[in-house]
Symmetry: C2
Subunit: 150 residues, 2 copies
DNA sequence: CTCTTACAGTTTAATATTAAACTATCTCTG
DNA sequence: CAGAGATAGTTTAATATTAAACTGTAAGAG
């Protein structure tokens, strides 16, 4: 049963990698977003502001894919941000199914104020990796993240 | 401003790694847990069953740390599993603050039935990494996951 | 012993999240 | 153009999640 045990070994190694990957991602998220509550922002709300900051105006579908949440949830997240005048929704004129979501001036001010500390916390998390590890991590995660859904 | 630009470059690289790490973890979670709904199990419930399966009886605090959820949430998750007779809670006699949570026979049967397909889905996710990548990923994620909280 | 402090778990109230059904719009095919 | 199917976003109802205040138990200092 050489084949079978080799397969089991692969599976065990994959499981171990999976657990470590999840723990790393989870604990980093936890630490990086720990002081978001001070601004009365949820992780998803912050994620949307950040995405708009980096990508410019996009539609809700793209935001949902970006922050890995359901479209229904995005309706709620964007609505709450809109009520706080942090984002603006405008229907696309050439395809009226779409809304273009974009930062308001207040939203841009907020994310510009929060982003430096955010980036610095992230940099701290990765500080103990050397350059080659940082590159390897990115290459590997790109492979893992790109696989087909479903 | 050599120092400053080098620092910015480090920060950009960390940000890029962070995004890729989160995307990899998120999309893998999504795919791996995609068919948990069929068993009427939430991701957290499955995580608890799996932890108990691998660790044996543990207290709720340890379960909370394992699945990265709040203690309040664990009370709820464990209660729901208990109502479905999948786990059993017994107060520790030497320190009555603790509950020992353990699988019932039904709980063990369930996780033993679900785990093989679960492990196989995970193995599929990591299949496109070669051995050295798998090792590098684990080593790097261990470093990242172990940093001090707060 | 008793007071203080710490800790495991619970409760509560507010919010976030999801799946699924639904509306509105677009696109393609004939 | 009409109808079928796809797509963006919304709603709804059920559940999950959290922070914070709380209860009960333990441990250590004086």
């Amino acid at each position: 049963m050489t084949q079978s045990t080799s397969k089991n070994r692969d599976q065990d190694e994959a499981l171990s990698a999976y657990v470590k990957l999840m723990r790393a991602a989870g604990s980093i998220t936890h630490r990086v977003h720990g002081n978001l509550a001070e601004e009365k922002l949820s992780v998803s709300q912050f994620g949307v502001l950040e995405a708009l900051y980096h990508l410019g105006p996009v539609c809700q579908r793209d935001l949902a894919r970006k922050i890995l949440k359901s479209s229904g949830n995005l309706t709620m997240v964007v609505r709450n941000l809109e009520q706080r005048k942090l984002v603006k929704r405008t229907r696309s004129s050439d395809d009226r199914r779409y809304y273009q979501i974009q930062l308001t001036t207040a939203g841009r001010d907020l994310i510009e104020r929060l982003f430096p500390a955010h980036a610095s916390r992230i940099a701290d998390e990765f500080k103990l990796l050397d350059q080659s590890e940082l590159e390897a991590l990115q290459r590997i995660c790109r492979k893992l993240g790109l696989q087909v859904e479903g």
